[in-house]
């Protein structure tokens, strides 16, 4: 195959990838968009096999076959609730592959490289390894193998900056080193990058996970793009760039949803449990309506309220995922609708542990997606809502975000559930959420608390409606 033909075909595939993403802008066309992307990837593999004359290489064929089998088994076995950690692990694999490519090219094929290729190798090695170790820590936290609480190391600022400098410095040194020393320096660069990824993610706690996982997604793309620079492959460069952009958009979106900057999340500044709203503090900017005592009732007492409601909104949070209550939530929705109540869902952008987490869980139990309202639309409609049912959500409905200056969630856009006539909170307990800020919603006069396992309280709610 001539170089020109290859480049033209590569460009066609890049346009195909972009078209596939374009189709992702609506749930109706998204399945087709994903298939288009998969077909383009298959075509890209075939194109590469043909261009480099690789057909018939047994090692390559075996490696591809093993990858396909493992990938298919993993993808078909995984449960939807495990999706955050699967996404994290897959990010890491992509990063690892890019880093390996960079190392092998740098050590084995150095003679054919110019300075641009070499520097790209060093960079791909660093970014890929950081992505791998960061993703593994994130996956471990999401799966509960690693402590979810932020781990704050002594002198972490100095350690982080030092490791970052070491990663970049050693990466570049590996790229420029004479062939005799390249292997040792590359190994050192890999170690420094792995440590940096570890230190960076180990101090990110559960609620900041959506931002972290989006950022790692972006880096896995960047690693592929830079590896593409190293071996002058247009498909790697373009597709890697697209993935980098996608991760960046998700990261921005998550940061907006939490009203915090990326630097704050990565430095762990906002994840430290805040001392600001200490109990009994006279200067505490209390929410104006947060004066009454908490009202805890039995689910059965909610029957009249729910049966009288014409419009209900359910606000799910990470607690719903933890309690595995989505099926009960769907049953509650069906029951309410059967007595003539209109039910919608209000989805906060950072509810859960990854972008769009709640939407996937609710889609799995066959809640139609028209019912999944975004933040602004949901907030506009609360005033016309008879009852709001909060299921395992805390920070995203915490009114302190509007009034309590100096707390980690101050300024974060929240779902203003108290604008509805009545609020029922089905949370495990009244402990502060991930941000560590006490929730005045629990003491609001409109609020009734149904504490305990959400799958039980929500099921009890549904039962009392149909009585």
């Amino acid at each position: 195959m001539t170089g020109e033909l290859y480049h033209v075909l590569a460009l066609v595939l890049i346009v195909g990838f972009l078209g596939g993403i374009r189709l992702m802008n609506s749930p109706r066309t998204a399945v087709g968009g994903n298939l288009l992307g998969a077909l383009c990837m298959l075509a890209a593999v075939v194109l590469t096999l043909v261009k480099y004359g690789l057909i018939g290489r047994w090692l390559l064929g075996a490696a591809l076959a093993v990858g396909v089998v493992i990938g298919a088994v993993v993808a078909l076995k995984v449960a939807m609730v495990q999706m955050p950690q699967l996404v994290a692990v897959l990010n890491g694999l992509g990063g690892a592959a890019s880093a390996i490519v960079a190392v092998v090219v740098l050590l084995g094929q150095a003679a054919a490289l110019n300075l641009f290729n070499r520097l790209s190798c060093g960079l791909a090695l660093a970014i890929g390894t950081v992505t791998l170790s960061g993703s593994m820590v994130a996956a471990g936290k999401l799966a509960g193998w690693v402590r979810q609480k932020p781990v704050v190391l002594a002198g972490r600022a100095a350690v982080t900056v030092g490791l970052l400098a070491a990663t970049v410095g050693l990466g570049l040194a590996a790229a420029l080193a004479p062939s005799g020393a390249a292997a040792a320096i590359s190994l050192a660069a890999v170690l420094a990058a792995a440590l940096f990824g570890l230190v960076m993610t180990i101090r990110v706690g559960g609620g900041d996970m959506p931002i972290t996982i989006s950022l790692l997604n972006s880096w896995s793309g960047l690693a592929a793009a830079v590896a593409g620079f190293a071996i002058a492959d247009p498909l790697l460069v373009a597709v890697g760039g697209v993935v980098g952009a996608a991760g960046l958009i998700l990261t921005q979106s998550m940061c907006r949803g939490m009203n915090r900057s990326l630097v704050e999340v990565l430095s762990g500044r906002t994840t430290v449990i805040s001392a600001a709203p200490a109990d009994g503090d006279a200067d505490r900017p209390a929410a104006p309506e947060a004066s009454t005592a908490m009202r805890q009732q039995e689910p059965a007492e909610m029957g009249p309220v729910l049966r009288a409601a014409k419009r209900a909104v359910i606000v799910p949070g990470y607690g719903m995922a933890l309690a595995q209550a989505q099926q009960q939530v769907k049953t509650l929705m069906d029951t309410l609708e059967s007595v003539g109540c209109e039910v919608d869902f209000a989805i906060h952008p950072v509810a859960g542990r990854m972008p769009g987490h709640m939407n996937v869980l609710l889609a799995e139990v066959e809640v139609p997606y028209e019912k999944l309202w975004e933040l602004d639309a949901a907030n506009d409609a609360f005033a016309q809502t008879d009852v709001v049912i909060v299921v395992g959500a805390n920070d995203v409905v915490n009114p302190a975000a509007m009034s309590a200056e100096g707390t980690p969630i101050y300024g974060m856009p929240i779902l203003r559930v108290t604008e509805a006539a009545k609020v029922i909170v089905c949370n495990l307990d009244t402990a502060p959420g991930y941000a560590g800020v006490e929730n005045p919603l629990y003491r609001h006069p409109k609020t009734t608390l149904l504490l305990g396992d959400a799958s039980e309280t929500v099921a009890a709610l549904a039962a009392c409606v149909s009585q």
Partner: protein, 101 residues
């Protein structure tokens, strides 16, 4: 020359991707992420070329391991995205509209 072409391609693809991806609703952000995840496995192409070009056995084995990892990334990424997207059904399609978003 090649370097300039690659850098321009990178910038153009990133910009075009940025524009297209901004249009994806938050509803689909998880499948978007897993789909992008699959695309980041494009590095499998680099791993394939590197495997074939490796002379030393050690390099070839290492590069083949990269092929496995990237292939898992691609296949699992596209498949879970497919599984998720198929769940986004709309029994009442057309009956009621989503709120303004």
């Amino acid at each position: 020359m090649t370097e300039v072409y690659l850098v321009i391609l990178f910038l153009a693809a990133t910009a075009a991707g940025y524009r297209n991806i901004r249009a994806v609703p938050t509803l689909l952000h998880t499948p978007l992420m897993s789909g992008m995840n699959a695309l980041s496995g494009v590095t499998v192409l680099g791993a394939m070329v590197t495997t074939a070009a490796s002379v030393a056995t050690g390099s070839a084995v290492l590069a083949a391991a990269a092929v496995v990892l990237a292939t898992v990334n691609v296949v699992a990424g596209f498949l879970v995205t497919h599984r998720m997207l198929r769940m986004f059904r709309s029994p009442g399609a057309g009956a009621r509209r989503r709120g303004p978003t």
